[in-house]
């Protein structure tokens, strides 16, 4: 990784020791043409604070992605020991201490709401932090560009290679680049599947080639998407496919932090000759290094734009130049539109983090988070569903009694098998028949296995003098043996009232 900004003899100079790059903002809205094919972008490698942060974030996010499935979590002998597991076969979702059944999908909804509001809040405070640092598209594209840089060289070398005619050296470079990309892509798809099955078992099966066909299919699918989205499509995903750049327009205001070219300081821009005064002109020497470094192919000096993912690489590129020409750093910086205006008016720049919208987002976040925590901490380990037979709706017996059938699903979310007690209130049945068990007296004992659902058909027979009306509300309850937990579900007993 060489990042020396060298003045080649032929290159025009922007200032003493700083070559003017011929980089063009090919992906900025003004330069995109309907009929034109995509102009490839060759981002130049930079060094600096934001590049460093990006490396660190990449390391952390990748570590999370690859290591999480391998974290073990003891849930007793009847449940899987994987901390994070989406168990499709058994219809369970495990997340450390949380276990969610399909009936509790509202927790997932809550999680998604929190993620969305969290994203809104982060956008209102710090702009598109997600886009610039944490989004998988950004992280993997960054990794792919790093590989490209390693194999084919930096920006100018890559441009030269692209123009070169096909020869052994070009073929070798291209083949090794795409091969490395594919290896990364396979590893990406390969890690994804571990979230859905017990990781060590699946790793063993994969090593022996005995994993289920679906696993290979998903690996192939994710290999394809990683390779094409991260390697081939890159900034087009953000510009054309992703809805977030559109949404964030509504989420940001002029007090939100975003990568900003401080026009008040930079303009009027122009090349600077050694010895010339800096009076009466801006600090921008129009060297285009910010454009060359941009992975999105835009010019940050055009102002905030949809295509900008706020990764801060242009800040690093500009700072290197500012250091060289002896001007103050951060001509491009994380700043707000409001501050640029304030400086232009001669006021002091300030950051207003507490604004109505950030307060609103925070309140929503706290409310949803509290609801989730409350829900999870008071989550029932016992649940009951009652489905009344509708075909036939009710059955009249010879003596005038009426029978209704119900399908009960008794759920035991605990790690061990338990005995539950079934009671029925609101009506006095003459007979309670559990299909497969026989006639029982209430409360009836039901054994339910660990982390299991027991499905039972119950027939209630009620004598004519024991119902009040044709549709009588009744209550089914299941309670654990110690009566710590009870789950009561409303149902209806239909007699048609033939009396």
């Amino acid at each position: 990784m060489h990042t020396v900004i060298s003045a080649r003899d032929t290159a025009p100079m922007a200032a003493e020791g700083v070559a003017r790059s011929d980089a063009e903002a090919s992906n900025s809205a003004a330069n995109r043409k309907f009929y034109k094919a995509r102009v490839p972008i060759y981002p130049k490698m930079v060094q600096g604070r934001y590049r460093r942060i990006k490396w660190i974030v990449m390391a952390i996010t990748m570590a999370i992605y690859y290591l999480v499935p391998w974290i073990r979590w003891d849930r007793g002998p009847f449940s899987p020991h994987q901390a994070v597991l989406v168990d499709m076969t058994h219809e369970r979702f495990y997340f450390f201490f949380i276990e969610i059944w399909p009936q509790e999908v509202y927790y997932v909804t809550g999680l998604l709401i929190m993620a969305a509001v969290g994203l809104f809040l982060a956008s209102a405070l710090f702009g598109r932090l997600w886009c610039g640092y944490a989004c998988p598209q950004t992280v993997w594209t960054d990794l792919f560009i790093f590989v490209e840089n390693l194999i084919e060289g930096d920006r100018s070398a890559r441009i030269r290679l692209a123009k070169e005619s096909w020869g052994s050296s070009k073929i070798a470079k291209r083949v090794s680049k795409h091969a490395t990309w594919l290896i990364i892509a396979v590893a990406t798809g390969g890690a994804w599947v571990f979230y859905f099955t017990d990781a060590p078992t699946l790793a063993h099966d994969l090593a022996h080639g005995t994993a289920p066909i679906g696993v290979y299919a998903f690996m192939a699918l994710l290999t394809f998407t990683t390779y094409s989205l991260g390697g081939l499509m890159r900034e087009q995903v953000c510009t054309y496919m992703c809805p977030w750049p559109r949404i964030q327009g509504a989420m940001m205001d002029n007090e939100a932090l975003s990568v900003t070219y401080r026009a008040d300081r930079g303009e009027p821009r122009g090349p600077h000759k050694k010895g010339d005064s800096w009076q009466g002109r801006g600090s921008c020497i129009d060297c285009n290094q910010c454009v060359a470094a941009c992975p999105m192919g835009i010019d940050i000096r055009d102002g905030a734009q949809l295509e900008c993912i706020n990764c801060g690489l242009c800040i690093d590129a500009c700072d290197e130049v500012m250091l060289k020409i002896g001007q103050p750093l951060r001509l491009i910086a994380y700043d707000t539109d409001a501050n640029v205006a304030r400086r232009a008016r001669g006021e002091r720049a300030r950051f207003r983090l507490i604004r109505p919208r950030t307060i609103l987002y925070s309140v929503v976040l706290v409310i949803v988070g509290s609801l989730m925590m409350f829900g999870l901490s008071t989550r029932r380990t016992i649940d009951l569903d009652v489905l009344r037979d509708r075909n036939p709706n009710f059955v009249t017996l010879a003596d005038g009694s009426v029978r209704n059938g119900y399908t009960l699903k008794v759920m035991n979310r605990a790690d061990q098998g338990r005995d539950f007690w079934l009671t029925i209130r609101g009506i006095q049945p003459r007979a309670v028949n559990l299909i497969g068990v026989g006639n029982v007296s209430l409360p009836a004992k039901l054994a339910v296995g660990p982390d299991k659902v027991r499905t039972l058909r119950v027939l209630l027979t009620v004598a004519p003098h024991d119902w009040q009306n044709s549709h009588q509300r009744i209550l089914f309850s299941v309670a654990d043996a110690e009566h710590h937990e009870t789950r009561t579900v409303r149902a209806v007993f239909v007699s048609g009232d033939p009396r």
Binding site: P392, T396, L397, A398, G400, R403, I435, G436
Partner: protein
């Protein structure tokens, strides 16, 4: 023919040189990847002709090297299904109905098979939930013309009712009115008597007049108390269940014309195992004895 390639000013794309009313056609050929796939498909199809059945002939078709046939696939899949079920079917065949109920595994198998067979064969008359209808018995309740034990149900399914089987269950209620066996006023009295039997208010005088009539004409099948007799398939007249309706008009019509439904014999059409499974399934509706 244009000797020099011309470019459209707006799009910068080459034109084909074709012009209609001043509008020139842009030369935008198919994408190369598309063409590549297209040619690959052509090559693939040639291989397909050789390997797979492809061309129709006058009396047959080219079978291809693999000699593949979807018809054979279906036959093989059905055979595989039969083989997979064979062990359980055999077990079902050997087990008595009581044994099936005791063996949870076998019961589940019987229930699954019974449910499918019921849906295919029984629902047109008895309804998908076995709820029956006017003239078609409800299989959910505890009223059985021919008995509600597993064996009774199995036998009824096997031989049918008023069916073509020589062993069919059969009962024939005379058409007292239509055939002139009783006078209309006698039938009116009998109607009141039957209403009285089911513990409803009836004309006491008519009931008194009909007592002798009932003993002479009806009790041989329906018994003196009107409780019916399963041996003859005679329904109980004292309960609240009426195959042809509970009103005086319904009862009058039944005495007048002596209706009786037909259930086909399923022995010989369905395998004995399937009939066993059906018996277990129908028994589980809740009315089984």
């Amino acid at each position: 023919m244009a000797t020099q390639k011309e470019r459209d000013q707006v799009t910068g794309t080459e034109t084909t040189g074709h012009e209609w009313d001043g509008i020139k056609e842009l030369n935008t050929p198919l994408p190369r990847w598309w063409l590549g796939i297209f040619y690959a498909c052509i090559v693939w199809s040639i291989g397909y002709w050789i390997v797979m059945p492809a061309w129709p002939m006058i009396h047959s078709y080219t079978t291809g090297v693999l000699n593949h046939s979807q018809r054979d696939d279906v036959a093989a899949a059905l055979k595989a299904l039969r083989d997979a079920r064979a062990a359980k079917e055999h077990e079902l065949d050997g087990a008595t109905l009581e044994q099936i109920l005791k063996n949870a595994d076998l019961q589940q198998f019987a229930m699954a098979e019974g449910k499918a067979a019921f849906g295919d064969n029984c629902t047109p008359c008895h309804g998908s939930g076995g709820q029956g209808g006017h003239g078609y018995p409800n299989l959910n309740d505890d009223v059985w013309l021919w008995g509600g034990t597993l064996e009774d149900i199995q036998r009824t399914i096997t031989v049918g009712v008023r069916s073509t089987s020589p062993e069919t269950r059969s009962s024939q209620m005379p058409a007292f009115g239509r055939d002139g066996l009783l006078k209309p006023e006698q039938i009116d009295d009998l109607t009141e008597y039957v209403v009285h039997l089911s513990r409803r208010t009836a004309d006491a005088k008519a009931v008194a007049r009909a007592t002798k009539l009932f003993a002479e004409n009806c009790s041989s099948c329906h018994s003196n108390a009107g409780k019916g007799d399963r041996q003859y398939g005679a329904p109980n007249l004292t309960d609240n269940e009426w195959l042809y309706g509970p009103t005086r008009e319904d009862i009058h019509e039944q005495i007048w014309s002596g209706r009786g439904g037909v259930m086909p014999t399923w022995g010989g059409r369905l395998s004995p195992e399937t009939i066993k499974a059906l018996a277990v399934y129908v028994h589980s509706f809740g009315g089984g004895e």
